[in-house]
């Protein structure tokens, strides 16, 4: 069982008291425990079991405008004492920073909303084995599938966030994840692909057979890929990678990038950075949402933000420290976005595929090719050539490149949004990007 609220609260309040005694003027403590049990399968046989019990504490102490922090996995009192002593001592020797402080009291969350994020169900490892066995049988149907690896993870977590202004709240979350990777092989090539499901509640996870079939189908369709020539072409991003474009957008509007001047979206507030058909939301109170929360990692209340309204950037993602530097109040985004998504577009998936006589459908990108400072984007890609709405053949060993400033202005959204992850996007098309191939 994960440690209960009472145990965590006791640890937190002990640390707050001890830090105060040593001369800390303010303190923040985050203490948590998570227990997860994983079973891995390979080629229809048990491959690995893993039980993980993680304790952790983070303490930040302030002495006036000085700040420093420590973290540890050892919660024994004797160790905590040594660490808090070290933390306060280090704080005193660290230079002042006028923007250091706890969050404004009136912004702190007053309540923990019931967002349905915890499911007490426990699935025994034997039952995980049974699920994975069905999954891999379904994945191995085609004899071109030469290897399958799957896993089932059950995770239960609990935490308490407390500060010396009297904030002390936390909540339990659970997560059930099943995933499958299939390797397919023919005379000319070997390819892998995957499918996964992640839910707060056990009963919501995808059916094992369906998951296995999908992973196999995705790998098989990639066999015998071709390389195409270099050209300017419309690119369609499959949903599972389209969300990555939203994640880049989120890092570019984070208050730290903005206040440090290292983002291509600096000073773009109230300016049109997308076409006016585009709306982007960050909604923290979705029931069972993967990114749902009542407050951010400083305890600041989180409300829904319409980050982009009719193409116009309306908000940065603000925490207390960087907010102060920008002369803005925190909007509860310390630690990033909650449930971030593009609002659905007007056009359906089929029509999107048909909107150009020839386009490239990308299912996976590799490499770290997003530059937040300049907006330049260049990554390796895998996908399919689409002609007149039909998948013609798989494509490999190409790159796609552009600049986010232009890419954002050229996005067309399909209307197939689903809330499977914490960041979600419908299928998107971006025109005017460059493919490098032969």
């Amino acid at each position: 069982m994960v440690k209960d609220q009472e145990y965590l609260e006791k640890k937190a309040s002990y640390c707050l008291d001890y830090a105060k005694k040593l001369g800390a003027t303010d303190t923040i403590v985050n203490v948590g425990n998570s227990i997860s049990e994983t079973v891995n399968f390979r080629n229809k046989k048990l491959d690995e079991s893993n039980r993980s019990d993680n304790l952790g504490i983070d303490i930040t102490t302030f002495v006036g405008k000085k700040k420093s922090s420590i973290s540890s996995s050892n919660l024994l009192r004797e160790n905590l004492n040594i660490l808090i002593e070290k933390c306060v001592e280090t704080t005193k020797n660290t230079p002042e920073d006028e923007f250091n402080s706890l969050p404004d009291k009136d912004l702190l969350a007053k309540e923990v909303k019931d967002l349905n994020l915890y499911d007490d169900s426990h699935i025994e490892n034997d039952n995980k084995v049974e699920y994975l066995s069905r999954l891999e049988t379904a994945a191995s149907n085609d004899k071109k599938i030469i290897n399958t690896e799957s896993s089932f993870v059950e995770d239960k977590s609990n935490f308490i966030l407390a500060n010396s202004d009297g904030f002390c709240k936390g909540f339990k979350t659970s997560s059930f994840v099943a995933s499958s990777v299939a390797v397919a092989k023919d005379d000319r090539s070997m390819e892998r692909d995957y499918e996964y499901t992640v839910k707060c509640h056990l009963k919501d996870i995808k059916n094992a057979e369906e998951l296995g079939k999908k992973a196999a189908e995705y790998s098989l369709r990639k066999l015998s890929p071709k390389k195409i020539g270099s050209e300017k072409i419309a690119i369609i991003f499959d949903k599972r990678i389209a969300k990555g474009i939203l994640s880049t957008f989120a890092s570019a509007i984070s208050a730290s990038s903005i206040s440090r001047g290292t983002s291509f979206l600096k000073n773009k507030i109230n300016q049109k950075i997308f076409q006016e058909t585009i709306n982007i939301f960050d909604k923290p109170d979705i029931s069972k949402g993967q990114g749902s929360r009542s407050f951010d990692s400083e305890g600041v209340r989180t409300d829904t933000l319409k980050l982009v309204e009719q193409g116009i950037l309306k908000h940065y993602l603000l925490d207390t420290y960087n907010g102060r530097k920008l002369n803005l109040k925190s909007n509860g985004r310390c630690g990033g976005t909650s449930n971030l998504y593009f609002e659905n577009g007007k056009i359906n998936y089929k029509d999107l595929l048909n909107s150009n006589s020839k386009c490239l459908y990308i299912t996976e990108t590799i490499g770290h090719g997003s530059n937040i400072v300049t907006g330049d984007y260049s990554v390796g890609a895998t996908g399919f050539l689409v002609e007149n709405g039909e998948f013609k053949y798989p494509i490999n060993e190409i790159t796609i490149a552009g600049n986010f400033k232009d890419m954002f202005q050229n996005i067309t959204l399909a209307n197939d949004l689903e809330f499977d992850y914490s960041t979600n996007s419908p299928t998107i098309m971006i025109e005017g990007m460059v493919v490098a191939g032969k």
């Binding site: 390819e191 060993e397 790159t399």
Partner: protein, 470 residues
């Protein structure tokens, strides 16, 4: 050395009994104990933005039978916790009945000192250097808009207890110093990053104002990028500079030669042992024995002493990198390549310092031979799809080559290639081999471990450059 049982209700003797009892019908396994201390001091935006300290303690208990691994880890080193882990392992390996237990070879060689870099230098002196870095860079160039610099240091003590009570220990220091600078000129912004590191104390790196060299290099890269034009798109010749660009070797070849992917036959290299996989003259080793290097290890995380493993010799594939599990299943020996990020993770076969050895040509000869291509000097990160063999890496400093001459700098672009065929496209190997400055972290299955790379300049006949200029 940490005494892991000092403050526990569990005695060493009791732990040994639980270990022996749990592993008695298994092929392999061990109790891995770890105590690590780390710090990070960050200067950013003219201020000391972060000074943090972490102390982490825990164990990971592993039992292996056949191909099945059972693992359990916890932060509480106690009788109760170890027994619970033991139960968890036994329930997975209910029907285990095997006995490989190949003994661990012994070695007294050490490749770094038993020091704690964090304590060897005061907080004040570290903060002073960071402030000097900030002042130095902002004074040196008026276009400097942002400076970020940080120190990170770590000491990790590990102990491995095997069935029967055999014990192996190691204490590993690791430091890193990094500088990143952003320039702005005529409304255009570009950044440059440089860093150094290794298994040493900070002072070994920072004597004689050595930090200035790190600043100068970061500033030089940023200045070059301010003048860069869009990169070309398409297939062309590529000259790679010496040192850090060897992450090409790491991504393109290294991962594909790790034992697990080959045992599972999911690597594009799995059936190529003894065959020609690279041009003649190409020799690649994975070496854990270099003094104080970031990827060096006295023993690996299963206790096997490190070694220098020849992977490719004069173009022929000679060895994979192995941990004990994959070595046993592939009927070979461990190459001391079993590594884990920390006690929360199982051991996997991983790279250490992966190096392509010297050839005979000069970089000059390579550049002169290229009619149209690019000269890539420095890279950000890379990634590989083991199964298809396709890999990428991102240039952070590159130039175009026209008619045998180096031309303008070009914007950061991704290069993409095919692992199994790329080394056959190497047509010249330079005589200027260099180690990287000690900054690499390799990610695999969610685990990051410090690694090194090295290579001389090389000429690749054909690679796809992912620019925007058609």
């Amino acid at each position: 050395m940490s005494n892991f049982f000092e403050k526990s209700d569990l005695t060493r003797n009791e732990a040994e009994n639980i270990i022996s009892d749990t592993l008695k019908k298994c092929d392999d396994g061990e109790l891995y104990l770890e105590n690590s201390k780390s710090e990070n001091i960050l200067l950013d935006d003219n201020k000391i933005k972060k000074s943090s300290y972490n102390s982490d303690l825990g164990f990971g208990f592993r039992a292996v039978s056949g191909e099945v691994v059972a693992y359990s880890h916890s932060n509480e080193i106690s009788k109760n916790s170890l027994k619970q882990s033991s139960e968890s392992l036994k329930s997975t390996l209910k029907s285990a009945n095997s006995s490989y237990n190949h003994s661990i070879p012994k070695s007294n060689k050490k490749y770094y000192e038993n020091i704690n870099p964090i304590e060897k230098k005061t907080l004040k002196s570290k903060i002073d250097v960071l402030n000097k870095v900030n002042d130095y860079l902002r004074k040196k160039d008026n276009n400097v808009q942002q400076v970020t610099a940080n120190f990170s240091g770590e000491q990790k003590s590990i102990e491995i207890i095997r069935s029967g009570g055999e014990t192996l220990t190691d204490v590993r220091p690791l430091i890193r110093f990094n500088v990143s600078v952003m320039l702005e000129k005529n409304g255009r912004k570009e950044s440059g990053v440089y860093g150094i590191g290794g298994r040493q104390s900070y002072d070994d790196y920072l004597i004689n104002d050595n930090w200035k060299n790190v600043c100068d290099e970061a500033l030089r890269i940023a200045s070059v990028n301010l003048e860069s034009k869009p990169a070309p798109a398409g297939e062309m010749k590529v000259v790679l500079g010496p040192g850090w660009p060897a992450i090409l070797i790491h991504e393109a070849i290294g991962h594909g030669l790790e034992g697990d992917f080959n045992r599972k036959k999911t690597s594009a290299f799995h059936n190529l042992m003894g065959q020609k996989v690279a041009s003649e003259g190409v020799t690649i080793v994975d070496d854990g024995t270099l003094d104080n290097r970031r990827g060096s290890l006295t023993i690996d995380d299963e206790g096997t002493p490190t070694e220098k493993t020849v992977l490719i010799e004069n173009g022929i594939l000679k060895n994979f990198m192995q941990d004990r599990l994959n070595a046993r299943l592939m009927k070979t020996r461990s190459t001391g390549s079993g590594r884990r990020e920390n006690y929360r993770h199982i051991v996997l076969p991983r790279m250490r310092n992966t190096m392509m050895l010297n050839g005979k040509q000069t970089q000059d000869e390579m550049i002169k031979s290229v009619d149209k291509g690019i000269f890539a000097v420095s890279f950000g990160g890379g990634q590989v799809d083991i199964t298809s063999g396709k890999f990428v890496f991102n240039c952070t400093e590159a130039y175009e080559i026209t008619e045998g001459k180096i031309g303008s700098p070009i914007k950061g672009a991704t290069l993409i290639g095919d692992g199994p065929s790329i080394l056959k496209e190497v047509s010249m190997v330079g005589n200027d081999m260099m180690l990287d400055p000690g900054i690499g972290t390799c990610g695999k299955a969610g685990q990051g471990v410090p690694v090194g790379v090295a290579q001389p300049s090389i000429l690749i006949n054909k690679m796809t450059v992912g620019g925007t200029n058609l």
